[in-house]
Point group: C2
Chain length 217, copies 2
DNA sequence: CTAAATTTTTAACAAATTGACAAGATAAGG
DNA sequence: CCTTATCTTGTCAATTTGTTAAAAATTTAG
C-alpha cells in the first residue's frame, strides 16, 4: 500500500498507542481526541496526530478517533491480525518464562516448539502439550512446520551458530535474548532484548538523576 | 564533574561500547582506533568519537583508545564500580530467571531479596540462600536494608500499587517488566522492559521487510 | 447556516548524525 | 637523535532526522 518508509522511532511508539487504546476500550470509551490521548500518554498531541497519519487518515475532524477502529487498524499494521508461529531455543528460566507467558498467545504469538541441547531437559513438558525437543531436530522441524519467529534464549556462544542454522532454514524473524549481536542477511529481522544493557542504562540514569534533574523519560 | 546533559541516545549506546570493549579485552587487544571499532560495531567512527568525547578525552591522537582503560572508564560512568543492591518483586518464571541470572551479579547488580504475595511461593528458595518473602514485609525490609533498584515482575494491576509503596519507602530505581507505565516522582528512575512491545515491533518489521527493504538497524 | 471541535498538512524548530579537517602523537628511516 | 610521513583524535560545520507548533480544511452539532 504505502511505500513510504516509516521511521524506527514511530514504530517503537505504535505498541504503546495500541496498549492505551486497549485500555480505553476496556473502559468503554468509544472516541478520543488526540488532545485527550496526549494527556493520558504524556506525549504531545501533535506527535500522536503526525504518527497516526503516516499510516493513513484514521481520524475525523470534529470527531476525533474511533477507539475500537483505531485499535484494530494498529493491530493490522503491526501484523497482529495474523497468527505468528514461533519456536523457542533454550528452555532455561528465561525461555520457560517466555513460553508460559499467556499474553503473547493472546496477541497471536504462538510458541509451538521448544529446543534445548541439554539431555536432562529434553522430553520435559514446558507448557500445554509442548515438550522440549533435541536441538538436533531443529532443521527437521522447520522443514515440516511454519516458523515465523524464533526466540533465542541461550548463552551467546551457542546463540551465534544457532542463529546461522535458523537463517539457513529460512527463518526470517529472530527475537534475540543472548548478549551478542547476530550477523544475519538483510532480509532477516532481529529484535534484540539485552537485559544487561537495560539494567546498565538504569544504573547510569540513577547515578546521574541527582545532579542532572531534567531527565527526560 | 561534567554538568552537561548527555542525551538518551548516547546513554543507550554506552552499554554496547562496553560489551565490545569487554570482548576486545578477552581477545587480548590492547588498543583500538575509532575506525577499527566502527567496523566491528557497524556504526560510524565519527559517532564513536563524538559519543566518547562527551565524557572526556579518553583517546590519543596517533594511538587510538586503550581498550582496558576505556572499558573501566565506561564502567565508572555507568556506575558499575559500585555494587547495586536490588530486590525482586514477583517470583514467577520471569522473576526467577532474573534472580538466577549470574551475569547481573558479575556486573555488581545483586539481588538480595525476593517478594511475592502468593502463600504457596513464600518460603521457597530461589537462588543461593535467598527465599521468597511475603510482600507485606516489603516496607520493613527496605527500612532495614539498602535498596537501590527494585525489579517489578508481576501483573500490571499489582505493579502500580507496589511501585507506589516502593517510592514511598524511598526506592529511587525501578526496573519495570509489567505492561504498564508507572507514574513516579521526578527523582525516581524507571526503566521499562516491555516484552510484548518488543515482539510487536519485530512483527511489524517482519511484515514490512519484504516490500520495504532499506530497513535500518 | 454558523460556530466549535479536531484532524490534516505544512512549516519552523530542535536534536542527532555524519563528514571534514586541523592539531597532536606515533613510528620509521636516515 | 632528528625529520618526515602516517595515523588518529577532538571538534566544528553541514546534513539529516525527528518533534513541535501553526495554519488550513473538514466535520459535527445546535
Amino acid at each position: 500500500m504505502e511505500d513510504m518508509t516509516i521511521s524506527k522511532a514511530i514504530i517503537k511508539r505504535l505498541p504503546r498507542y495500541y496498549r492505551y487504546l486497549g485500555d480505553l476500550m476496556s473502559e468503554g470509551v468509544e472516541r478520543i481526541s488526540s488532545g485527550e490521548l496526549s494527556e493520558r500518554m504524556h506525549v504531545t498531541a501533535s506527535q500522536i496526530r503526525q504518527d497516526l497519519n503516516h499510516f493513513g487518515g484514521f481520524g475525523q475532524q470534529g470527531y476525533g478517533y474511533n477507539v475500537s477502529y483505531l485499535y484494530h487498524e494498529i493491530a493490522k499494521i503491526m501484523g497482529l491480525d495474523m497468527a505468528s508461529h514461533m519456536i523457542l531455543i533454550g528452555s532455561g528460566n528465561l525461555g520457560q518464562a517466555l513460553a508460559k507467558y499467556t499474553n503473547f498467545r493472546r496477541r497471536g504469538f504462538l510458541f509451538e516448539a521448544v529446543f534445548d541441547r541439554d539431555p536432562q531437559k529434553i522430553g520435559q513438558k514446558i507448557y500445554g502439550d509442548m515438550t522440549v525437543q533435541d536441538i538436533s531436530e531443529l532443521e527437521e522441524y522447520i522443514r515440516t512446520h511454519q516458523v515465523d519467529i524464533a526466540a533465542i534464549a541461550i548463552p551467546k556462544e551457542q546463540a551465534v551458530p544457532v542463529a546461522d542454522r535458523l537463517v539457513k532454514c529460512g527463518v526470517r524473524g529472530i527475537w534475540n535474548f543472548a548478549h551478542t549481536d547476530l550477523a544475519v542477511p538483510d532480509d532477516v529481522v532481529v529484535e534484540n532484548v539485552h537485559l544487561s544493557e537495560s539494567l546498565m542504562g538504569l544504573s547510569y540514569r540513577l547515578k546521574n538523576s541527582a545532579k542532572n534533574h531534567k531527565n527526560r523519560e
